[in-house]
Symmetry: D2
Subunit: 343 residues, 4 copies
């Protein structure tokens, strides 16, 4: 791993705002081992004054969580905050010329009214940053200094159907997509809710926010349409199951014109040919194939003569669905190998 990566003598300094949640902890773990950066400050809220090693002993890190008071000393800032809280912090960091990667949903949507509807929060009109999904937006990511990192469900769904929409060779007309995704419970964050307790969730499954999840407009935007007036039927049923990490998405796509297996496979293979972290797999994918990795696996499970596709994707919600993709974006913005610190 990482041989030859540390050619540049200078290391970038990096800080995390919102470092004590699960995504923040994964960022901490990845950045501690990343050869091109030096982890500077870990900012938190309720955990201010506590030591990382008390909250996450597995990280082997003895830093203390600090309160963020507007510091701008690092080269790079990751924000892993509850939705709504980055809105205030990002603009001044951007103005100060920092590289900023925000993991919240605050800056993902161009359409403010959809943002306001799905997040139930006001957003200032121009609050939009480059959407950081390298398999879709590589050219823009390379040029920008401010990234809005995609949502976990959104990543698992967009990567599963993007080739149908964005293939340079030929796109396929889509009539309907029904998505059902099962997420690990870490997706709900470090929580003290009874309904997320072990006793309630062990050997359990529960759907929630059916048809109203805030990742819906993000998915539609990435597919080139809108949530309020979509160009195809779309449903999304998110679930949590008895697992900590991972998202497993079943994507049922109805094409307008049937397509044959070879055509579809060729389309997917071609689309992801240069992608380091998306694997088009011939055999069934499983959560355990991707957990603790930055891979998103995509498997075409079924193609019917009538044009129904069943596509299955798997990723780790805290890595490719959050911290891992954020590091991937950082690598691209720094001009270093996309895989650095992620294998």
């Amino acid at each position: 791993m990482s041989s030859g990566l540390s050619d540049s003598l200078k290391k970038y300094s990096v800080s995390i705002i919102g470092a004590s949640g699960y995504s923040g902890a994964e960022l901490t773990r990845l950045l501690l081992r990343h050869p091109c950066v030096e982890l500077q400050d870990l900012y938190a809220f309720s955990q201010v004054g506590n030591n990382v090693s008390d909250l996450y002993p597995a990280l082997g890190c003895n830093s203390m969580y600090k309160q963020y008071k507007g510091e701008r000393e690092s080269d790079i800032y990751f924000l892993a905050l509850p939705h709504g809280e980055a809105l205030q912090l990002v603009p001044s960091l951007v103005q100060a010329g920092k590289i900023v990667i925000d993991l919240s949903g605050d800056f993902r949507l161009k359409n403010c009214s959809e943002h306001n509807e799905f997040y139930k929060q006001l957003k200032s009109p121009d609050a939009f940053m480059t959407y950081g999904m390298p398999e879709l937006n590589l050219d823009q990511i390379i040029k920008t200094r401010a990234i809005s990192n995609p949502g976990c469900y959104a990543t698992s769904i967009i990567l599963g159907v993007a080739p149908l929409f964005h293939s340079k060779e030929h796109s396929l007309d889509v009539r309907a997509i029904n998505c059902t995704s099962t997420s690990g419970i870490s997706g709900a964050g470090r929580s003290s809710k009874t309904e997320l307790s072990f006793s309630e969730m062990s050997e359990n499954i529960r759907a929630y926010k059916v048809g109203i999840h805030q990742h819906i407009p993000e998915i539609m935007q990435a597919l080139g349409t809108s949530a309020t007036d979509p160009s195809f039927d779309f449903t999304f049923t998110p679930m949590i199951g008895s697992l900590v990490r991972g998202i497993y998405s079943i994507l049922n796509v109805q094409l307008v014109q049937p397509a044959d297996t070879e055509e579809i496979l060729k389309l997917y293979r071609s689309f992801y040919q240069t992608a380091h972290f998306v694997r088009v797999r011939d055999t069934m994918t499983e959560i355990r194939h991707v957990v603790h990795t930055n891979f998103c696996d995509v498997h075409i499970a079924s193609i019917t003569k009538k044009g129904s596709l069943t596509i299955i994707t798997a990723l780790d919600n805290l890595l490719k669905g959050a911290a891992g993709q954020a590091i991937q974006n950082m690598n691209l913005m720094l001009g270093i190998n996309e895989e650095t610190g992620l294998l």
Copy 2:
């Protein structure tokens, strides 16, 4: 519960052929506590000569598993065998006038060619018994003495959409149904496969038999169409997750004509008005709401203006999906309260 059920002095004698699997064990547990029957013989194969209390100590039962040699001494026979093995045994039991309830898929399908295709097994042409889903077939079940007990996935899907197809008042035209179901691993039976080991399946999810599962023709038959030439688009993605018991089904239905929420809810409420074990619930259902019960919960999670429904069902695969429904059928055939021994 069940007070006054044991008025009749005579108890029916019952035996189980295939008693050592998980469904067999649930039948054993339920029949031991059933006030109107006496459990006579437990027949098994690899476990012949072993004591129930060694294999399933929780049952508190000291009987020994016997080899079945054609005995016909009981009034009632349950068969809980691997698919294909009941084909030989059922006819002679039926001829001998026994009440027979077969939990396998051997006698579920009227269409032999579909049976042969999906089960990859030959079936004799007239091998069909009354399909034992009381919420659909009550009148027939009451009259018959031979029941083919529904499949676990099939039950969870059929009960979720049956009101759309079989309402006496007015049915709704369906254009497409996409089903994704997550099953507990007990659905695979007592197994020694590496892929079902704890180390491989803990915190894991895996789809399998996408579009080719043997319950597909059973579902289509119950909905009044066929698997080979269905009257609507249909996909089915079965999955196993890290839970032992339960099936959680997400049913995305596309109606030809949109229907409003009130209309759909009224339809479902009316259809299941007299059903003891199907509960139409206003709030989200979860696996833990039904596990270790004979209930199938149905929740209409979303209805869009364009006529997309998301219906979610939950049941215990070993109870309403197997042994519980089998007892329910027995109760109906015996003319006793449908809930006897099941609450």
Copy 3:
């Protein structure tokens, strides 16, 4: 099961104070199905006004949780409250002549100073009720109308070593007992603590209150000694693991004089000869052998020449460790079959 149990036409009315916790829910489930009682009122605190079917749909019970305001209309009262809260309620119920079964630790200890030390709560001097462990105290339980139901860990440990201390034939001198017990997380109650969330506890184990758990004086009292000046060395390490229900206790006993295997086995078999719910097993016991049952399994796993015994017990913390044992006590106090409603 339960044949002939409902001879008495009159059913006892029963209410539960503290019905919305996990033990309360198990009491509800058991009492709903018990042939000799009628469940009257379910009293709760934070859940007052909510329906049982919303909190525990699996119970199939549509009652509403009420606020307890001193009612005394039922024949029998179960109290399943946090420690300290029964102290106020029990005396007036006892004075009113009610049958009272308290599942808390409030009335278990005769020694007030030990109670105050381990529970960190004051207790009035004469607040002691009959200790409801039928395998030890049958004669007293039959005569009393007020029972203090044993603790879950205490039951699993006391039943594992009681024959060494209380055999009528000959007791064995014990030099030391080291107990390590793993409990299901339901033992912590319906909780909203982050440290009991699925994300923190899945695939995890954590010890707590090592050497200071409040069941220590209860265990010592039941073994005829005291926690502050015990007649043998005693350590207790409680743990929670990634399971909802069950307690698995490893009891390492050092005898003063070695005893041979036959002698020990005979002692245990004889001691539990008439016990309905303690099973001395020849083969290894497991949590799954007892979960959802009222059994406590005891297995002598190892006896060394030097007099070291390893005894392993398994029980369901919510049944034999709480609600099941409480029903067992009720049955004995009512003079009906000890197993009624528990098989």
Copy 4:
């Protein structure tokens, strides 16, 4: 992390014999990322001809498992084979001057009769290699080229009590040690046994080999005594619980002379002062603190006035208990930083 480690241009070539089991997969993962080695050949048995990426997609490795036919081309050989199978292979690799690290129990015991008794296998008289526990044997490991890597339970127990026996300052006399350890099910290897299936082990705990586990003589040897005539009472109860990875050991130690808390803590702190991977922790340790790391956490949970200690250790059975410790040994033998590739 490990920046600057790859100064040396030459990388050592490494091969794994027995690469397809869980320990072999962890070795593969660690060696792929290790900056000083190049992974050459992966030898397996039943998986010969299969691709690593089919069996363990998370590794992101496209090599094929080969059959081992006596090749000696690599500089370093790891053997991760079932017990008994390394006996034949190791001598010729050692003779050929290779660095050899064997993860099995074949070469751990000096006392052949104890080996034969506990492993039920014959061993040639001089088959012993340096015991690779760096915290005990650093000086010997640095000098040797053939290492017998410790057992997982043995590591978790030895590291928990070693300071009592091997402190240079002053040892404490031990009268008895009772160990109970819960292991993740991966410790049983990639298995197709029904008793290790998800359906049997989810939410379950089971003890096994109580008092007869093959790690007992290894522990006793490391503590300077023997299993057949130990200098103190010793019991060991291994258990598997519903977790994949990790070992959690409760070590109840009875000292001959009581010692005070300060003294014990000082002893432990001093003993592990220079250890990179053993952490003496002030607060309770948990499995999740160490899983996916090479750390062994040690916590003194209780010290009584009578000299009873309760020490709790946690480690990842596949890392510090197997592959991680093996890499640690390799690093020491190569003269590079002990932590290389392990943080």
